[in-house]
Amino acid sequence: MIAPFVTRCLPALFIFCFLFPSLVFAEGGGKEGSKDDSKFLLLEEKTRDLDERLRELESRAVLSEPELLVKQKEISVCDNGHEYDGAREGKCPLDGLPLVKSFTYQREKVYRRQTISEKIEEVLAGEAKKGVSIGVSGTATAQEAVRLKGNSNEADGDLFGVGSMDVFFIAKPALYTMFFIDIEAIGGYSPDKLIDNISGLNSDNARRKDARDIDGREMNLREAWLSTELLGQRLTVTGGILDLTNYFDSNTVANDETTQFITDTLVNNPLLAAPANNGAGLTAVFDPKVGIVFKAGIQRGENAENNMTEKNYSVVEIDYLSHFGGLPEGHYRIWYRFNENTKRENMAWGTSIDQKLTPSITLFGRFGQQFTSKDFKRDDYFYSGGVQFKTPYVIGLQDAWAIGFQSTDMASGEDETLLEGYYNLFLTDNLKTSFHLQYLADSNVGGARKSYVLPGLRVQVDF
């Protein structure tokens, strides 16, 4: 311990000798002293100069102000309002009353530096959160009908086109709550006008009030609803003017008429028969995030005339996320619906399945059975299925293509089979185009049997 002390102090002693040579050595001390004085004066002057420049700079510079943030903190309070920081047990030191735990909000200073652009971005983001977001989506389709078999008075070589535009408004009026409006304008000529069928050759057109309306321009309020999350955000309740097909009978590869199949029965199960007029309704979705989801929905029926509760349409569904046998994920859904009442002919059930075989290949399938009255010998049935391919079986990284078929067999004797293939070309985040080929293989809807080939083109933009 002494050795380090001595070692470290030796340099100090040398410096003492250097600084005070007059004390150690007899001669030469006076001249050294005056040189040091002038050096010191020079240093003093420089320091004064720097001081003044710094003061000038401070007076002209724009000072950064600290951010003020509001922080929640725990406190303890007695009945007389005496407040103490933190959670305290026992009694109030001032008046002996019991202390109760509580919380409050308090401002604190934060020395956080932000660039001007960060400040602007923060303000804009805050404004955007408070306000309403607007989105626009437009779809245009062109289809040609080539008759292979059927009556000569039906379409052959005719060109059809349907265009639609949706404007969406989204607002978040409260925590975990969303308000949504969809206004749609649609018009044009669909092959469904001239070709009798039950598949719906243009699903976009199928959403119109009168799908066979030739003058075809209409604007309507498609959806307007309020949605909120309850029970720790496990239960989502949505009420208002709803499109129930957004919640039930979903499918990962066959559910979107703007980017996937164009045939209506390859977008949704026709036996689901959700009210096409999108009346007032309510849905509840319980999702505990463990792979199983429960859904229920009720909506004003299409035939309701006097009030919202007559002739209701209701549906329930269970969804399951699977990983069978080492396969990638699959979705298995089963639904049951009641239209107006529980009479046999007003009930139906169905399934919707999509199963990935690999990350690039997904199979899908739907089945439906509509019960019929005793007037019929059998029930109505619907089947559909197909496969979708993504990269690396595509040209562009985000392209996709698929083939599908559907078969509808009604108890009334009408039956129809259709195949469709499409290739969706992803051009930009906002622009996609797809090429379609539909083959109405065999249909007896409207009388004579017929078959058609319908090549088509679809362009979709969204913002």
């Binding site: 380090p4 002390f5 470290r8 102090c9 340099p11 100090a12 410096i15 003492f16 600084l19 005070f20 040091d36 010191f40 950064s64 951010e67 943030l69 922080k71 929640q72 725990e74 604190e108 934060v110 020395y111 956080r112 530096r113 925590l175 720790g232 955000q233 505990p288 995030k289 463990v290 792979g291 996320l321 990983h323 990638p328 994920e329 990935k356 690999t358 990350p359 993504k390 990269t391 690396p392 562009g396 990284l397 985000q398 992803f426 051009l427 930009t428 985040d429 906002n430 622009l431």
Partner: protein
């Protein structure tokens, strides 16, 4: 008189080391016993005892510093951090919890890494397009290595011979020779598709490139996710080349290696899903629904815990069954940041910025407890020898 004062000053200066030899107060005896917490707005680094869950000390860096990420050197002697608004690197002595050196670096230092032998500290400066290289023995800046495009994260090989720099402003990973401290090569993940010329608004205005090159537990491969391209590139570290490009979801953030070394979990913020990649097969074995604004993934008990910044949820996934296993609601209106996993893999230390807290999640039971007031706006945490240490 002035000379006497100067003498006394000199004596004191040279006798200063005596204080240490007599024993400056050692606050942290075992560096593995603490969790390091970076507090952006209180401009300090706090140290929390892992057993008592109490803050044992803070090191204030200065006003307007706004530190981003902190890491402890593998030998446990130093904590290093970059002050994003001060353009400086800070070095703290762990035992005494004292700030021992401040080194000017380049513009806006954020993420960093330390060589496995604790010799060098590489500080990434995204706004300066450079990596500052600091010698931890001499505590001096060796150089600001340029040639990068918004370098976000740096990954060293286990043998410390090379460092891989992920460039968020580009689609390549840079390789640094750690001996010579030079940028050796650039590894492109994938070509930008020709169709991107149709969308100059997207491709010329903003770029979401590579945020991190994540190394497998055996150090053999790196997985680099590219946000714009929606792919993960697999790099062989022996030959420094791409061996596979795997398509994942939209706008993937980065890959996180599971504890058992068999999987990489990639959060895709563009479509709110996660992709689970099997490292042996080098393909996606599951794509599962997740949440918005995912900033990190931790692993414990064969589960992946995916942190969603804005929803206040941590999404849990069973990595054996490849299925969701629920989610943990941490609170309401929180901004969850990143987490560090303890060395034994049992606990995760999750920072929560807006309530200034640290949440300790039990990986087995999914229960959590809150440690309040760890500092203002905690941004990240670090545990020495922890299974998962990262920053967003």
């Amino acid at each position: 008189m002035k000379k006497v004062v100067l003498f006394l000053f000199t004596v004191l200066f040279f006798c200063q080391p005596l204080k240490k030899s007599f024993g400056e107060e050692v606050v942290i005896k075992d560096p593995r016993s603490v969790c390091v917490i970076v507090n952006r707005d209180s401009n300090d680094i706090s140290f929390m005892d892992l057993k008592t869950k109490k803050i044992v000390g803070r090191v204030f860096l200065g006003k307007w510093v706004n530190p981003h990420m902190a890491a402890m050197t593998p030998d446990g002697r130093r904590v290093v951090t970059g002050g994003t608004r001060a353009n400086k690197a800070y070095i703290i002595d762990v035992a005494t919890m004292k700030l021992i050196k401040t080194i000017p670096v380049d513009i806006a230092p954020e993420h960093l890494a330390v060589t496995p032998d604790s010799r060098f500290y590489y500080q990434g400066n995204p706004d300066g397009d450079s990596v500052s290289i600091i010698d931890l023995v001499s505590l001096k800046l060796i150089k600001n290595l340029r040639g990068f495009a918004e370098p976000l994260n740096i990954t060293f090989l286990p043998d410390g011979s090379k460092a891989y720099v992920a460039n968020y402003g580009a689609h390549w990973v840079g390789v640094i020779d750690v001996k010579r401290h030079e940028l050796l090569k650039k590894i492109r993940i994938r070509a930008v598709p020709g169709v991107s010329k149709l969308d100059p608004k997207k491709y010329l205005s903003d770029i979401r490139g590579i945020s991190n090159a994540s190394i497998t537990r055996d150090g053999r491969y790196l997985y680099a996710a590219d946000g714009d391209l929606g792919v993960v590139g697999v790099i062989d570290t022996r030959e420094d080349k791409i061996v596979k490009v795997i398509k994942v979801g939209a706008d993937p953030w980065r890959a996180y290696p599971s504890s058992d070394g068999t999987k990489m979990v990639v959060p895709n913020n563009g479509d709110e899903t996660i992709s689970i990649i099997d490292i042996k097969k080098n393909k996606v074995v599951a794509t599962l629904e997740a949440g918005p604004d995912m900033v990190g993934v931790n692993f414990s008990h064969n589960k992946a815990f995916v942190i969603s910044n804005s929803s206040s949820f941590v999404y849990v996934y069973d990595l054996k069954k490849l299925k969701p296993a629920g989610r943990i609601k941490i609170g309401t209106n929180l901004e969850l940041q990143t987490a560090a996993t303890s060395a034994d893999g049992e606990k995760m230390y999750l920072t929560s910025a807006t309530d200034h807290s640290l949440y300790i999640i039990d990986g087995k039971t999914n229960e959590f407890e809150r440690v309040a007031d760890v500092g203002l706006y905690p941004w990240g945490s670090f545990v020495l020898e922890g299974r998962d240490n990262y920053c967003h």
